[in-house]
């Protein structure tokens, strides 16, 4: 039987996980902000799928220059080449850590997939039948990033 998440039920968990991750591994303070990413700029999106009794996705995205800054701090490399594979790899790993820590508070038996990465301009990530249950931007001294939790479950008898 599938479970459906209540809107914002895990926002505090996500806030705590994101804060701990950036403070511990990037030595960076994060502050929740009301700011959304423009789709006409070069973005990177990392998506971690969840399956099992609850289905959904954890999405972490930011502008390309911010992803480079985060990679430089994560890897402690001062001047990472703008085209380095380490940039998307870092974003995927950051999303993986957030998702892995969140999994502990998700319904028992949920399993987690590996990161998928999207790079480019003018795209939108949608999950078929999905409903965003948590969505928050976080600012840092080098720009902001967005974390979304999408519920991809379908309730039995839900208007179909």
């Amino acid at each position: 039987m599938e479970t459906k998440l209540i809107e914002n039920a895990h926002q505090e968990d996500l806030d705590h996980i994101v804060d701990d991750l950036f403070r511990t591994m990037l030595a960076t303070e994060v502050t929740p902000v009301a700011e959304y990413l423009p789709s006409d700029e070069a973005l990177i999106t990392a998506i971690i799928p969840f399956a099992g009794p609850w289905k959904g996705d954890l999405v972490l995205e930011c502008r390309r220059p911010q992803a480079r800054y985060y990679a430089q701090r994560f890897l402690q490399i001062e001047d990472l080449d703008e085209t380095s594979d380490d940039i998307p790899s870092t974003l995927g790993e950051l999303a993986n850590i957030v998702a892995g820590n969140l999994k502990v508070v998700l319904p028992k038996g949920v399993t987690m997939g590996t990161p998928s990465l999207i790079e480019g301009k003018d795209y939108t990530v949608r999950v078929c039948g999905g409903r965003t249950v948590c969505c928050r931007s976080y600012s840092t001294d080098v720009g902001s990033f967005l974390v979304r939790l999408i519920d991809g479950s379908t309730l039995v008898g839900e208007g179909q």
Binding site: D20, L75, Q76, N96, I97, N101, K103, G113
Partner: protein, 120 residues
């Protein structure tokens, strides 16, 4: 002593390498980007400790640990993973893992987990 780091994320392999140094462990490290590659490395290199991610495509870290035990390897094995439910902790322990380090981690977490195996 040689340590094998198994993680499909190149970024994480780099972080583990750096954290090992920061924690004061300057052992020889070799890397594998998958469990299958780790098994290939083991055929040609004497490995004393494996630090493995859990969540990897195709063959995950737990599959790797079970395979090693089934094949009779006695290599020390620990997980470095973002997932750390009590269920996973006990599953890892029951399967023979020496420790489970949770991401995000600090050099202190590595020292605490590895000192009993590698010494101070």
């Amino acid at each position: 002593m040689t340590i094998l780091v198994v993680d499909d994320s190149k970024a994480m392999r780099m972080i583990i390498r750096r954290t090992m140094r920061e924690a004061g462990f300057h052992h020889k490290l070799v890397e594998a980007s998958s469990a299958a590659q780790a098994l290939t490395v083991l055929q040609s290199t004497q490995i004393d400790l494996i630090l493995s991610d859990w969540n990897m495509p195709e063959m995950n870290g737990m599959d790797l640990l079970v395979k090693l035990k089934t094949d009779g390897h006695a290599i020390k094995f620990g997980f470095v993973t973002s997932e750390s439910s009590s269920e996973m902790q006990s599953t890892a322990k029951d399967a023979g893992a020496a420790f489970l380090i949770t991401k995000p981690f600090t050099p202190e977490a590595f020292r605490s987990a590895l000192e009993p195996i590698l010494g101070g």
